[in-house]
Amino acid sequence: MTPVRLRGEGVAKRFGRVTALRGIDFEIEPGEAVAILGANGAGKSTLLRIFAGLSRPSEGRFEAIREVGLAEREGGANGSADLARPDLRGAVGYVGHATLLYGELTARENLAFAARLQGADASPARLDGLLAELGLQDFSSRRTGTFSRGMAQRLAIARAIVHEPSVLLLDEPFTGLDAGSAERLSSQLSGLRARGRTLIVVTHDPQRGVELADRALVLDRGLLVAHVARQARPGAEDVPFAAEALQALLARFAQSVGSTGSVGVDSADAGGSGA
């Protein structure tokens, strides 16, 4: 599992006449847990798909940098540390709105297929271990078309981590789950994070974002309108990293930011709008 840093400068994305992202800057360190918050249409999923190497920015620069590469450079080795998009796809695990599973295959077959696509170990022992980790060991031979939403979502996460990615990207992973399943998923994600993975969660639910993440990027209509951290940065005021504060912030920007406006809000501003 190679640590990967994600960095973007002026990242913009257009789909025909529709602008999904309007030039945003960000940097995500290896091992961080980051929530991307915003209302529907804010550009959260588009940004996540750029992180995954599924989409190219229309403008700006996006880089995924291997930490090993940085060490190599310090040691005098030549060559760029940037990951090319085909390699980036192997370094990330992606859980989308849909499960990305094949209903005609069993749980173990789905994992085996995903592992082979990624060039990872697809031995039965390893796959069974992964299924057990996600609490699906009793359903390994069942076709996933018969799975409940919660089971399918857990299997989707197993599929996403089958190749031991260093970055796990999750797009609204709690949608459609009941309270118990959401709680279980949340604790499993915390467990994955504790093992050093970078976790990037897209959600419109600030409560979930606060539970999982160290900091949050708040998007509104394609703009990065706030950057909120659990721990204050040196020289900055303390920031209340609470769901209520983020909810208030989202509501404020939903009302006040014009579609063409350029608004910068720092962490102190976010704190001021909080509870």
Partner: protein
């Protein structure tokens, strides 16, 4: 390369379990043969041999269009297309896996269709069966290559049912021309002429390389 084998295995297993494409293609092929049988004017068996290759290949190509239209149907469920797009490395291997599975399926349907066609049209396909089988196998490489690429291009379109035939059928005409010439010769017991095989090999090469290289862009957003 592993990705190609994985996709080939997945497509054949899921098809074996659902038989969606297989049933659709077989039923369609048999219906076309029956329709041609009713539309055909009465003629001698020898005279029929002159027209039979054209009828057979038109049936094959229309059935292939039906099958290719469903190539990525399973990927549309649960957004599994994204799972394919996330595979690292050269995406051309994914194309090869998909095209390989489609080749197996289309070839199986064509073998069944040939049997029914021989019964209805009283054509002796056993004359030159090896040459005919070789011709079908080679022609299918081109059909599946360009068909898989165009199917992937059209699958996310709202008009995919119309778009695929409109894009695909013109690209299949060079294959049809050579295949009919080759089949006519094999049915007449003259063996498989190289003049028919050569253009097919060239078309296969062009479609295969083109599709392998372009598949990466097709899966991008």
């Amino acid at each position: 390369m592993n990705a190609a084998w994985a996709l080939l295995w997945k497509d054949l297993v899921t098809e074996w379990r659902s038989r969606d494409r297989l049933v659709a293609m077989v039923v369609f092929s048999f219906l076309v043969v029956v329709v041609f049988q009713f539309a055909w004017p009465p003629m001698e068996a020898g005279e029929m041999t002159r027209f039979a290759p054209g009828v057979l290949w038109v049936t094959y190509l229309f059935a292939a269009v039906i099958g290719l239209g469903r190539t990525f149907a399973l990927e549309l469920e649960n957004d599994a297309m994204t799972a394919l797009a996330l595979a690292p490395g050269t995406r051309g291997w994914l194309f090869l896996g998909k095209a390989g599975a489609t080749w197996v399926l289309i070839t199986a349907v064509q073998a069944m269709t040939a049997f029914v066609f021989a019964l209805f049209f009283r054509v002796d396909l056993m004359t030159g069966v090896v040459g005919f089988a070789t011709l079908v196998a080679v022609a299918n490489v081109g059909i599946c290559s360009i068909g898989t690429l165009l199917s992937a291009m059209s699958v996310r379109s709202r008009f995919r049912e119309v778009l695929l035939p409109v894009l695909l059928i013109p690209t299949l005409i060079p294959i049809l021309t050579s295949a009919v010439v080759g089949t006519t010769a094999t049915l007449a017991g003259e063996g498989l002429p190289f003049a028919a095989l050569q253009p097919l090999i060239v078309i296969d090469g062009v479609y295969l390389i083109l599709s392998f290289l372009l598949f990466d862009f097709v899966l991008d957003e």
